[in-house]
């Protein structure tokens, strides 16, 4: 009798009320998720769609051809890939180290956990401003970061308006700072869920702690690491607000635009009004993310097969 729903009581009425309870959610999801999902594909194949007159002059791959030749788009792809390649491994590795550290201490553990989680609950735009002034070099002052690296004999750099790699460095630092809380949280709980008996039996066997890490800890938490890498890739590919926070709205001028930024710029703002190009760019982004995710899954499966 335990897990049976009351099917018989009033069949038709339950059918109707079931759909009735779902109706609001269903309406919103159809209007703002399902329909847009279909629509974005249609947009992306409508050539020369004009949002003012709502006309297009044909269908085909023109929009894709256009954005793939657009130097601004190619620049955003390059920026995004570089950002992903820098931030995902560093943030994941760093989070693993910190979590291992957290997991091995008792005193102050909760305090550290609380502090480490803080960036998660901050406004990306607001704290980005702080990073900006920390790294910025102006005629009046070299800024705090320059002051510190100056102590190591490095000449001051303008991280916000200066060379490309300096700007990429600031962005990467900020992105890592922002994504760390989530990764630390997930990895600490993954580490905490490894049963103690494994460690105890390893200690009895006299296993070195290095070996314990590679042969016990890492395999046990590897599903979570894989998960973090995949979501890390997806998140980093969609980076945008972080860049705006540091470099301002005109990311193209700063040369630091991302793919998502390109989508929004095509949609709105000074260069906006081209939902077709925006759609094509969004779909290209989605295709890239999907491909990377699938590759990730295949690689991680292979890797776990080996161990």
């Amino acid at each position: 009798m335990s897990k049976k729903t009351l099917s018989g009581v009033n069949g038709v009425a339950t059918n109707i009320s079931g759909w009735l309870y779902l109706l609001p959610a269903l309406l919103f999801l159809i209007a703002f998720m399902v329909y847009p999902l279909i629509d974005v594909f249609i947009y992306s194949f409508e050539e020369g769609y004009n949002s003012a007159s709502q006309t297009s002059f044909g269908t085909g791959g023109y929009n894709y051809a256009y954005i793939l030749r657009d130097p601004y788009f190619l620049k955003t792809v390059k920026n995004t890939f570089i950002l992903v390649i820098i931030t995902v491994p560093i943030s994941t590795g760093l989070a693993l180290l910190i979590s291992l550290g957290l997991n091995s201490i008792r005193a102050l553990k909760r305090l550290f956990q609380t502090i480490f989680f803080l960036p998660y609950v901050t406004n990306t735009l607001a704290v980005g401003l702080v990073f900006m002034i920390l790294f910025r070099k102006t005629p009046y002052t070299d800024g705090l970061v320059n002051m510190i690296i100056g102590k190591f004999g490095i000449s001051p750099v303008d991280f916000i308006d200066g060379p490309y790699w300096a700007k990429m460095l600031v962005l990467s630092v900020y992105v890592i700072w922002i994504v760390m809380p989530f990764k630390i949280l997930i990895l600490t709980s993954a580490l905490a869920s490894v049963p103690d008996v494994y460690y105890q039996s390893a200690r009895i066997d006299g296993t070195s702690s290095w070996r314990v890490f590679w042969r016990i800890t890492l395999p046990m938490i590897s599903p979570m690491i894989v998960y973090l890498i995949i979501t890390g890739f997806i998140g980093a590919f969609k980076a945008y607000s972080d860049a705006v926070a540091i470099f301002g709205v005109d990311l193209n001028a700063a040369g630091m635009n991302t793919i998502v930024g390109y989508v929004y710029d095509m949609l709105y703002g000074d260069g906006g009004g081209y939902p077709s190009y925006a759609s094509a760019a969004a779909i290209v982004l989605f295709a890239i993310v999907l491909t990377i995710t699938v590759i990730n899954l295949i690689v991680s499966r292979k890797a776990t097969d080996i161990t």
């Binding site: 309870y21 301002g248 989508v263």
Partner: protein, 274 residues
């Protein structure tokens, strides 16, 4: 062993410093007077003459209070609507045995994988076509449902034993009354978690408000900060800017310190969904 522990604590403290430093710096800068800030060729790590003047200028030079109340309205309305909608939806999935339920739920789960960036374009066009730009309706509507929270709540609802439902039936309780008098109170912890996470999400939302509002009367705090940085106080009145940043950050940090456990639990469950 002792040395190892010391190194661990040292490294954790270094990371804590990196995390906390921006917060310290924004508070510090916000209480330095403009004159003393501008006069620091080499930034100082403390100030001898703290002032609240910057907070006054942050709230007077730009309509920061306006942005706050906008954000508050947006956050409360979105969260309230969403909570009601997801409670109904989760109840239908968890408790009512209607035709097509399992298929529909599968469809819902599939929607969890759709990135926002893919649907935001059409939503922008839809809201624009409906003439809802620069309105709270336009801001709120697209984010009043969350498939993930429906999923989370449905799982929780299903843990309520069936017998309670039968008992309520025998007691003559309507489905609606059962939902709000029994299910919701029992599942309150999960609902609170969902509310807090949604509030954080709303408070920090930037992209959608930016697309849909260009009238400062409807700016949220994120857009306000951005506007402030581009045109508002000028790039140089950093102390006032930092005062605004502090004002925007403080509510969430307080919320976090109060609901620390709930928030961290909720976020780690969000992590498990994958």
């Amino acid at each position: 062993m002792k040395i190892k522990k010391t190194i661990i604590y040292f490294l954790l403290a270094v990371w804590a410093l990196i995390v906390l430093f921006p917060f310290y710096w924004m508070v510090l800068s916000s209480i330095k007077s403009y004159a003393s800030y501008a006069g620091e060729k080499i930034p100082k790590f403390f100030t001898t003459s703290p002032t609240l003047e910057n907070y006054r200028s942050a709230f007077t030079a730009v309509p920061l209070a306006r942005y706050f109340s906008n954000t508050l309205i947006f956050t409360l309305a979105t969260t309230a609507l969403m909570v009601i909608i997801i409670i109904f939806a989760a109840y239908a999935f968890a408790r009512i045995d209607f035709k097509g339920r399992n298929l529909l739920f599968l469809g819902f789960l599939a929607l969890m994988m759709i990135p926002n960036e893919l649907v935001i374009i059409t939503n922008f066009v839809t809201i624009t076509d409906l003439g809802l730009r620069n309105s709270f309706t336009g801001l709120i509507l697209p984010s009043v449902t969350s498939v993930f929270y429906i999923y989370l709540l449905k799982e929780n609802f299903e843990q309520v034993p069936d017998e309670l439902y039968y008992a309520a039936k025998v007691d003559g309780t309507s489905d609606l009354k059962y939902l709000f008098k029994v299910m919701v109170p029992i599942c309150r912890p999960t609902i609170i978690t969902v509310i807090i996470l949604k509030v954080i999400e709303c408070w920090n939302s930037y992209v959608w408000p930016r697309l849909i509002t260009d009238d400062p009367a409807f700016y949220l705090v994120s857009n306000g900060i951005q506007e402030l940085r581009e045109n508002g106080l000028g790039r140089d009145n950093i102390p006032a800017m930092m005062a605004a940043v502090v004002a925007v950050s403080v509510p969430l940090i307080i919320l976090f310190l109060i609901f620390r456990k709930k928030i961290m639990e909720g976020v780690s469950r969000e992590g498990i969904k994958g």
